[in-house]
Amino acid sequence: MDNSNYAQVSKRKAIVGVNLLRLITFITAVPVIGVIVYIIVRGAPALSWEFLTAMPRDGMRAGGIMPAIVGTFYLAIGTAIFSVPLGVAAGIYIAEYASDNRLTRLVRIAIINLAGIPSVVYGLFGLGLFVLFLNFGTSILAASLTLSIMTLPVIISTTEEALRQVPNSFRVVSTSLGGTRWQTVKNITLPQAMPGVVTGIILGLERAVGETAPIMFTGASFFLPMLPQSPMDATMALPYHIFVISTSVPGMPVQIQYGTVLVLLVFVLGMNVIATVIRNRARARRQW
């Protein structure tokens, strides 16, 4: 084989290869766009004021999904109450306080492991600790605490990363003006990192809002005739409701199923869009 032939063969190989990668990417991306569009098309006709604000009727086969929407709100708020202060403080510790020693490495390993634990194992843990041992029962409180611990690693890592992106000269200047470490964090680095921190919080809560397995045995309920009255009550929630109506309710109208899925998607993807907008605007405005 002479040289020009070799060059031709490898050129042909390159063309085939590049197109193969294009095809692979196409096959990955198109179904995602396809199912989003499909859910919107199938689910939109179910949406109505009644669907969003009424109690379910007729064994959940008619009426609305209001208690599931309200329950998901409660769980999101409960999760935020516990996980945001703790997660942001932990991120500050790792980025601004911790020195590089064995304990810090242990903290890092713990965070990596928290991030990797399967969601159903969080459910077991929540059942063992919050529902049974601490006797909270299946309640919004127990479910929120379970979701909080699951959300923690996301908030910690994004807070840490956002703080690390603040240039070191900011800290040096603050310290040289007599600022203590906390004053530097409070007045300089944390405000500078705030868009990144908020993005991380939203992405963490987005994950919590969509989870089913951690709340199945800690706080979610199949059907409740009224809204929860206190954090010690169980609640309906959108993800668990989707699971129930798509697997355990015979004769469930498909339109209501798609409608419920669409409502959850609007929540989740809406949070995703908000997070992206905050991140992009901050990036555009940043002066360093």
């Binding site: 713990a110 969601s119 063992g128 611990i149 993807l269």
Partner: protein, 296 residues
């Protein structure tokens, strides 16, 4: 003086928050052990690792469940690895900026889809079409679960692979090009090998994501905790460890043998995720050190 005192308090709060992750991992381990280890006393070890899972008649053999998890995870990786890494290579090495701007949000959307939504789509769309195309008695099979899991693992694999490819210094590519290599030869001969430990990390975390996935798998795999009797097990119903916990925990009496065994499965899952994540993070650390050495 007053200010320093206040600062000391805040420093302690921040420090304790920082350590809290260690506390939570320990608590998780303690409570899984507290509820799961009694299973060892109540069910003989031989039975626990037996081949039959039929809790109503006190058969608590967890092999069929481990097998189900492995089967579905391997199937997911057969899809997730080529598509995940292929997409990452395309995005990082070949795609023009405008395509990146469309595709990256699409991958993020896939990452953000709740698994119950994917399970729902599995029941409504994927399972019926597989049943038709593959001419199966039911579409709720290990294969359907594997396909969904592949898509669930893809965003993890893509984002970590892409990071790994992006950290390969530009001069590697320039060197290869200068020697006359074309795009394709540069990618497979230089860039991908240089990023291999990062790609391996991506695959490991994909494994972790797949083996721990619960809702989607539970909804589409047909819930049959059996060991394979023939070669086409992938196209038959199966049942993973995660799905078993999720579907049976709601119905067991607290403190029963069945209850303790379900927690014991939780311990197994915890240990698997621990092993997977420690391996992945040590791989990532090693590749970082290597990159630093090469660049210095």
């Amino acid at each position: 003086m007053e200010m320093v005192k206040g600062e000391r308090w805040i420093t302690w709060i921040i420090r304790i928050s920082g350590y809290s992750s260690i506390l939570f991992v320990s608590l998780i381990l303690i409570f899984l052990a507290r509820e799961g280890l009694p299973a060892l006393g109540k069910v003989p070890l031989g039975d626990l690792f037996g081949t039959r899972w039929y809790p109503i008649e006190s058969y608590f053999g967890i092999w069929p469940l481990i097998y189900g998890s492995v089967l579905v995870t391997v199937g997911a990786l057969l899809i997730g690895i080529p598509f995940g890494i292929g997409t990452a290579v395309y995005l990082s090495e070949l795609a023009p900026a405008w395509i990146k701007n469309i595709l990256k949000p699409v991958i993020e959307i896939l990452a953000g889809l709740p698994s119950v939504v994917l399970g729902f789509l599995g029941i409504q769309l994927v399972a019926p079409s597989f049943r038709e195309f593959l001419n199966l008695p039911t579409g709720l099979t290990a294969f359907t679960g594997a396909v969904l899991l592949g898509f669930i693992a893809i965003p993890t694999i893509v984002s970590i692979s892409e990071d790994a490819l992006n950290t390969v210094p530009a001069m590697y590519r320039q060197g290869a090009m200068a020697l006359g290599a074309n795009h394709w030869q540069t990618i497979w001969g230089v860039t991908v090998p240089a990023a291999r430990s990062g790609l391996l990390t991506a695959v490991m975390l994909g494994v972790g994501r797949a083996i721990g996935e619960t809702m989607a798998v539970m909804m589409v795999t047909g819930n049959a905790p059996v060991l394979p009797s023939s070669w086409n097990a992938l196209f038959l119903p199966a049942r993973t460890m995660t799905a078993t916990i999720a579907s049976e925990m709601g119905e067991v009496a607290t403190g029963s043998d069945h209850y303790h065994v379900l927690f014991f499965i939780g311990i197994v899952l915890f240990l698997i995720s621990l092993a997977v994540n420690l391996t992945a993070s040590s791989l990532a650390l090693r590749s970082k050190k290597r990159a630093e050495r090469l660049l210095s």
